[in-house]
Amino acid sequence: MIAMCSSGILIRHHRAYVAALMTWGLLVVQNLDAQLKPTEYQVKAAYLSNFGRFVEWRARVGNEPFKVCVLGPDPFGPALDATVSGESIDHAPVEAKRIAGAQEAGSCRILFISSAEDTQLRAILTALDKTSVLTVSDIPQFAKRGGMIQFILIGNRVRFEVNLDAAQRAGLSLSSELLKLATTVRRAP
């Protein structure tokens, strides 16, 4: 019953939690669930590398590692490293990299901009102009503000918005498979 399906369990568990956990037994179950259930950033980490599988970069260079970079304070913790370890995209090994400034993002394929960089966002995006880096962030209005993919939470599920125009301007083509999953796709007017 416990191992039925993740979404069902989540819902049930939630109700149970709201109804106040009265017994130790249920606490154990809840703890167990907590351990099994990926955290938000674990999910986001997985998504981050997976975006690489649905995006084509214009220029590609040999066996260069596929770098997934994080700008600003890292919200993933060890989750990102764990996710990318051993993974490869188009025969290129996936690497996680933390960078301090936008100027370092040249070798990155995917750049996650920490929400702490909200204020610096315009400068960062401008700095990244002319590069073909897929920008991802959970900063509110990120897609609207010129970012490419913005994580959003619908309920407790991680979804995303796509600014197709921004991606195309950066010379990236996004797979229709990806686009059909996006909650909103912003296109050029």
Partner: protein
Amino acid sequence: MVEGRNYSIKRKLIWMNMLVSGAALLVASAAFVAYELAAFRQTLVRSLSIQAQMVGSSSASALVFSDPESANKTLSALRAAPNILSGGIYTPAGELFAAYSRNGSGEGLPLHPGSSGQIEAHRFTGQDVMLVRSIVFQGKRIGTVYIRSDLQELKDRLKRYAGIVAIVLLMSLMAAFVLSSVYQRTIARPIVQLAEIARIVSREKNYSVRAPGKYQHGEIAILVEAFNEMLAQIQRREEERKTLLMSEQEARRTAELLNRVGPIVLGELDLKKLAQKVIDLATQLSGAQFGAFARVVVNEDGTSPMLYTFSGALCEAFIEIPQPADSAAFNPKFSEKTIVRSDDITQGAPEGKPPFPFGMPDGSLPVRSYLGVPVISRFGEVMGGLIFGHCSPAMFTERHEQLVLGIAAQAAIAIDNANLFEQVRQGRLRAEETSVVLRRVNSDLEQFAYSAYHDLREPLRMVRIYTQKLEKDYGDKLGPGADLCIRYTVQGASRMEQLVSDLINYTQAGSDNPEPAAPSSAEIAFTSAISSLQEALEKCGASISHERLPQVRMHRAHLEQLFLNLTANAIKYRGEKPPEIRIRAERRQGEWVFSVQDNGIGIDPQYGEQIFGVFKRLHSAEEYSGTGIGLAICRKIVQRYGGRIWVESELRKGATFLFTVPDGEAEAGRG
């Protein structure tokens, strides 16, 4: 019935053809359908596989980004395929990610699609087919698609195939029926005809029918030919058997007839009647209209005319019964011991021989069929012949000939028998006549002897008495020589008297007494005989002993005579010692043997027989007195009773006289 028989083989052939073609067609159709269904299943699986692939590739991103709604949307595209009952997408961990069901409910989805190492697997159940396929995205298995389809189309197809097969089968069978109905005739018709003929043969026992042999095909032609050959053989054998049976029956009938003839003919001893019986029987049995028995009779004067006996219902129509002497027409010569049989005697005799005995008086009906056989005695002598006639030709067969020959043989025997009987009868008649004459002569002789005795005794007595009177009254007056003369005269007269007396005894001893003797005691007879000899016995000092004597069937006087004569003989012929006489009787093989034994002078065995003759004496009257007739009387008496008398003796060693008396029916007890 004939139609039914036809149907059976026809039907079998048609059924066989239809069965064969139907079976072949069924097998072919089944193979075809099976192949089609297998191919269709493959097609179905392949189409399911393609759909699974499409679903899988379309839902890869949804799986990657955990978007079940998108996946559900993808799955719902399966609605376009009406055969898909349900579908599902599973995470690699086996959890249901998205689901589709045609009728909206989520039922029927398996929890585990049974993913094995393979990328794709499918399974047919009775009602549906399910297929699972791994979703591989960029070399990584990211989930599993599951699709379940119903088999409606397969079933529809199956139905369609069944319909087609049924129609094809029906049409083929109809075609086969028509074709085999046409072509079975070439095989069935000759067989049906054969069967029909076999039926006729077995029911009517008619072996002369044949199967028509116009068929050219190999086996049928051989069959018909062999059948006909078999019939021909059976017919031949049947005819042989019938012929054999008929000849056997004929032989048996002939034998039976002859057996019947035998007692009738052989019992008849009168020649005339015998001849009539023979010819009547022979004519009747041979079926002749006319029969004649010609007999050769040998007369005393040396002539041997023919005697004819006729028989037959129509014999008057053929001939006027002729006198034997003047029947020139019937002048057979039975010298040839041959048989003449002619189917038509008017066409000439068989083998050119003159027909014997042949010839019919003028005006008689013409004889066509003719049969003549000789009657031959067992000494090979031709005794006559049997002649048969019939006015239709070819009436006499070999069987008649055999029959008539058999009758002729029996007739010959019967005639021989009758002749022999006649001879015996005449011989006996002659013997009886002789016997009567003899008896009369004998009686005359006895009469004569008796009267002679009476007539002779009286003169002799007178001679003796008057001679004695002469001696007494005139003895001293005559001369001395006269005494001797007188003595001799008296002696002679006495002796003559004795002789006459003995002779009459002898005659009487043999005279017939027709009544059989009652049993009488030999003891009494013996005692009586001894008492009359008492004086003589005492005079010579004889001792006499006897055992107890039995009763025998003999007149007592005769028995007494026997004992008297034999005992007197024993005294008379005594030796120097006083006589010892022993009388015994013993029983031997149905008769009593009496013996009188003495110790006298005995008898030379060469005279053992002679002494029983009349007047036979071994000694002179001077040595031993006697007439020489005693033993002859004894023998006559013994013979009269069917016994024997003889002597056992040697000279000077005594003699034993023995005589036997038959025991007769009555058991004679001793005493």
